[in-house]
Amino acid sequence: MSILSKIKELFTLSSKVNNGGGEKANMKQAAMGKMTARERINTLLDPDTFFEFDLFVKHAGKDFGMDKKELPADGVITGTGSILNHPVCIFAQDFTVAGGSLGLAHARKITKIMDHSIKMGIPLIGINDSGGARIQEGVNSLAGYGEIFYRNTLASGVIPQISVILGPCAGGAVYSPALTDFVFVVDKISKMFITGPEVIKTVLGEEISMEDLGGARIQSEITGNAHFFANSELECFEQIKKLLTLIPWSNLKRADQFPPKRPKAIYEIEKVIPTDPSRPYDIRDIINSIVDDSDFLEVQEFWAANIVIGFARLNGETIGIVGNQPLVLAGVLDVDSSDKAARFIRFCDAFNIPLLTLVDLPGYLPGVDQEHAGVIRHGAKILYAYSEATVPKMTVILRKAYGGGYIAMCSRHLGADFVFAWPTAEIAVMGPEGAANIIFKNEIAEAADPNAMRKQKVLEYTEKFANPYVAASNGYIDAVINPEDTRKILIQTFQLSKHKKESRPQKKHGVPPF
């Protein structure tokens, strides 16, 4: 055989496998509004940068007639490429081949690319579209999942791991995305659950559709399993690209620097906040008035909306922002919002992203449901995450900082590097009404006009304690600042914290209240 015919043979062999499950299966995929695995990779990556591995890997199934079946690329495409010139490792499950089911060879292709991404220190992107375990392969399929989870855990905090759910992701398969840093879902396409509607119906007698059980909206709004919600696969890919510009390749690097940009003029910081602490406003308007180009990438926008988390740039450099949201549930901390913030803080700390905390909250949410859901252990996560973080930590108290909420929101006491307060700040054990009712309980009860007495005492308390100056007199805040100067001061303080070094006692790892 001449060299030319050998090369021709290579092309023939690869084109046979390149077509995935074949024309019919590809058309079926398109009819579901889904791209094929290869289309997805080529759309997400920079043009002509995809380099495929393991195209000719064969599946390991021997039983139930599987030995006679050909499964092109064993239902998963793996390789390397770049996104906006950032190198990445990527895999995409191919639903057109045996429903993207996971057998041992399929899993080994994934773990191989995972090992590469950890070794090379570059992000890993996994596109999930799979019916689940390949049942014909039995325990080998379970072994495959386990080996993936193990690497997800090893890679955690080393390289950013991104999961994109573009189809079903059910049973054991969902635990890989759950172990990764960011989960992207697309409306009507993504479906995630441990046990599907049919099992639930036979075992428990509860009827529910796949969409209502674990569709993109449910995962984005109710469960908090997903971090980014998109209406189409293309929108989803744009979100991934944007996120990748804001985070570093690995824990040994910093995120890319960009030319600084001023916030857009429409966001006027002083006009956003009402002075009455019980009136709502959108904390994102404050964020937009501080960050470069008023460009804020919000994470988990729809879940636990009483806290806002996300990435932006300040003077061209990425920061992570955590802010109470007075617009939703008055910005209280509760089980979900504590979980949400704590995980985000740990991501930022692991990947050298400085933290900005914007405080305006009345405290923790009262209620039997909260107590019974374990708000003690969940609320403790946020204390743990802030205390543990050694990246630069800046805190600005905008308005209310009451009680446990004041401590939890990156106070000086949890190791904040700089704490600023606006003149509108109220740093106290609780709001004036609650405090007056407790401190002056007897005076109010015994007064001729209890209501008038209560009003007077609330006013007294407000004047004395509902301000930033008591905390300032103790040195718990570094400066009371003019809201207008917030951006300028933050740029200065982040700049001077750039080479911050803080050590922690030697340990294998801490034991956070998971």
Binding site: V203, L204, G205, E206, R217, S220, E221, I222, F229, P277, S278, R279, P280, F302, A304, A305, N306, P326, L327, V328, L329, A330, G331, V332, D336, P362, G363, L365, P366, G367, V368, D369, H372, Y402, G403, M430, G431, P432, E433, G434, A435, N437
Partner: protein, 105 residues
């Protein structure tokens, strides 16, 4: 997912805040004090066997019924003594979590 735009009143520490409420907050179930006279299903499942009858005197520790769930036949045992007022389920019934099964007098 933009359906909770309404501004509501929301009280914390005697202060009334104006804010939006989340679906989860609106859907939370009020706490009900447990009635010791009622036996409820602790898990959804199927009633496989009922060992007791209406009017029967029950001692603490007596077996009441079998509730099969997740391929496990769970034996429900009486936590107290008393007379059965009513049995609100039958063998073969599929019951939901917290559904009332037996009421004591």
């Amino acid at each position: 997912m933009e359906d909770q735009k309404k501004i509501n009143k929301f009280i914390i520490d005697d202060t009334i805040y104006e804010t939006r409420l989340t679906k989860k907050f609106l859907n939370r179930k009020p706490y009900v004090i447990k009635d010791p006279k009622k036996v409820n299903a602790f898990i959804p499942g199927i009633i496989r066997n009922i060992y007791v009858k209406k009017g029967q005197h029950i001692k603490e520790g007596d077996e009441l019924l079998i509730l099969e769930a997740m391929k496990m036949k769970n034996v429900l045992i009486s936590h107290g003594s008393g007379i059965i007022k009513e049995i609100k389920t039958a063998t073969g019934d599929m019951v939901l979590k917290d559904q009332e099964l037996i009421e004591f007098e």
